[in-house]
């Protein structure tokens, strides 16, 4: 038993080194922009770069639209499948898992061929259309996480009784979904939303191949042209991911709290 414990600490120690040294290394590197002393020059240069502001804002706005669209498409579906169509559940679950099976590069390749200017739905013909297409693409990438989050949220409430109660009080479907189901699974939706946010902010392949000025392609461009700024960008991107995950953890803990009260 004693040997097992020493061995466990050893394995854990190695893991700590492997996982934390790159984080420290990135931060240290991002401070080296001024010769001889540590400074935040790289951050200043990144934050002052109009390209950074433009691409970052673009990705944030796109992430927000993706979240709204994802919630609007996933919540009613998950609700409806649980309430009325449990027999198609395996099929819907299979579809929502497909984006994990098909690499994103294949999906965007299909978009480019399917929605080019010569097609029935020439989305790539205009900047606005391409933005829409990119948003649909991100909603597709986020689908597995969003659906699973919302579906888990729905499992914890008795949707049948709630729906019947609301309907007997005269509520229509919009009211049921908007004022009953959505607030009840809000915590689950939030965790799906923040994961979506983290995915969209750093995404590269879709944005690059659809030629949109998003944060991912900007980072790659910086990586090829600057020395210390990429490390600063990595620190910023990691912080965003960490912040999103922290919010999800917090939300999950809150939901456990409310569930315990019932």
């Amino acid at each position: 038993m004693k040997a097992a414990k020493i061995w466990s600490w050893f394995a854990f120690g190695l893991a700590v080194i492997y996982f934390f040294v790159p984080l420290i290394g990135t931060f240290e590197f991002s401070l080296r922009a001024r010769r001889g002393v540590y400074s935040f020059d790289a951050y200043r240069s990144v934050l002052g770069d109009p390209q950074f502001v433009a691409t970052f804002t673009y990705s944030v706005v796109l992430a927000l639209f993706t979240i709204v669209f994802g919630v609007l498409i996933v919540t009613p579906t998950a609700f409806w499948v649980r309430l009325k169509l449990p027999q198609i559940r395996p099929m819907v679950e299979f579809i929502t898992l497909l984006p994990l099976v098909i690499p994103p590069i294949i999906i965007v390749f299909g978009y480019i061929r399917l929605y080019n200017t010569a097609s029935y739905l020439p989305l790539t013909g205009s900047a606005f259309g391409t933005n829409i297409l990119l948003m649909f693409g991100y909603a597709t990438l986020a689908l597995p996480y969003m659906y699973r989050a919302v579906d888990t949220g729905l499992r914890t409430i008795d949707i049948r009784t709630l729906t019947e109660a609301a309907q007997s009080l005269g509520a229509g479907w919009t009211t049921v979904i908007g004022r009953l189901i959505l607030p009840n699974v809000l915590v689950a939706i939030l965790s799906g939303a923040f994961l979506t946010f983290a995915i969209v902010i750093g995404e590269y392949v879709l944005a690059a191949l659809l030629n949109r000025p998003a944060f991912g392609p900007y980072m790659v461009w910086m990586g090829g042209n600057r020395a210390y700024e990429p490390a600063a960008l990595a620190v910023i991107a990691f912080s965003i991911t960490w912040a999103c995950m922290a919010v999800i953890q917090l939300a999950t803990r809150l939901s456990k709290h409310t569930r315990a009260q019932r």
Partner: protein, 304 residues
């Protein structure tokens, strides 16, 4: 899985009443999932079918196998082999290291909070894949990276003099492990929790050593989970583009990078060869995921 075992029961109770009532208005019920199905069809299924069909068509529309045969040229075969190698290697190392770490925090007698911290960190790190991860490794093990400099100045070891280069197969594998190991930890921890304390006690009563317990009880039970996760990690590495793109640029031609270049600028001089390449990627990740799903349902027999 708990959800799976509950599902048939819930389904029968739900079916009894409303089905008869809704039988006549079935199309109306289906209308509720119509937006979702339309979305999935337009932005997930049709694009994929487009690629698959394109792989078997000539530019003028007739059916052919020539595109797939066209893949048998040295640069594509090399890329496929390189992609296979990197995916197999990082999946294997990810499985071994992930299992060791998960076993250490779940079964190794470490403080319980370390287990929670490890799982939380794994949840985050498995999402780190992408451009920033490549930057982090350049800042750490690149020519001027922290580790490179520390090893050189403090220990007198110049890793670049020993032939190490981050912009290489080894470097890419080392970077991929940063998201492969956490994914393994996330998936294998529930399986390790499924190992019952009684099995270990029973084995010890019969005189088994710790090693014998792992070899003859724990590993056979974990085997489907391990193989399944291996397949998942393989697919995970196989489809990754952004990390490789930001780390090595086009210098390391793995399959997704060739496809990326093809989509951007038709480097293969034949658009239908691009379809064929994409199709073979779907087949490879599809098989790997299929193996994962099959083995996961086998593994779940024990986690009840």
């Amino acid at each position: 899985m708990i959800a799976g075992s509950k599902q048939p029961m819930a389904a029968t109770t739900v079916r009894d009443l409303p089905r008869r009532r809704l039988g006549a208005s079935l199309p109306l019920t289906w209308l509720g999932v119509a937006p979702f199905l339309l979305f999935a069809l337009l932005f997930l299924i049709l694009p994929t079918i487009q690629i698959v069909l394109g792989a078997f068509r000539t530019p003028d529309g007739s059916v052919t196998l020539a595109n797939l045969q066209g893949l048998a040229v040295p640069n594509i075969l090399n890329a496929t082999w390189l992609s296979m190698k990197i995916s197999l290697l990082t999946a294997l190392l990810g499985c071994v290291a992930g299992l060791a770490l998960a076993a250490a925090v779940t079964r190794g007698g470490l403080p319980p909070w370390l287990r929670d911290a490890t799982l939380t960190f794994s949840g985050v790190a498995s999402n780190f894949a992408g451009v920033p991860l490549a930057f982090a490794f350049i800042a750490t093990l690149g020519r001027l990276g922290l580790m490179t400099v520390v090893l050189r100045d403090w220990f007198g070891v110049n890793i670049y003099a020993t032939g190490f280069n981050l912009i290489s197969f080894t470097g890419l594998a080392l970077t991929y492990l940063y998201f492969q190991i956490p994914l393994m930890v996330l998936i294998i921890t529930p399986a390790l929790d499924g190992l019952k304390r009684e099995w270990r006690e029973a084995a010890e009563c019969l005189g088994a050593s710790g090693g014998q317990y792992w070899r003859m009880v724990a590993l056979p039970v974990l085997w489907p989970s391990l193989l399944g996760t291996f397949a998942l990690l393989f697919a995970n590495a196989f489809g990754a583009v952004a990390t490789a793109m930001a780390l090595t640029g086009p210098s390391l031609s793995i399959m997704p990078i060739i496809l990326f270049a093809q989509i951007r600028g038709d480097v293969l001089q034949d658009p239908h060869l691009g379809y064929a390449l994409a199709f073979s990627m779907i087949v490879i990740t599809g098989i790997a995921n299929f193996i994962y799903i099959m083995l996961r349902s086998r593994a779940e027999r024990w986690v009840k």
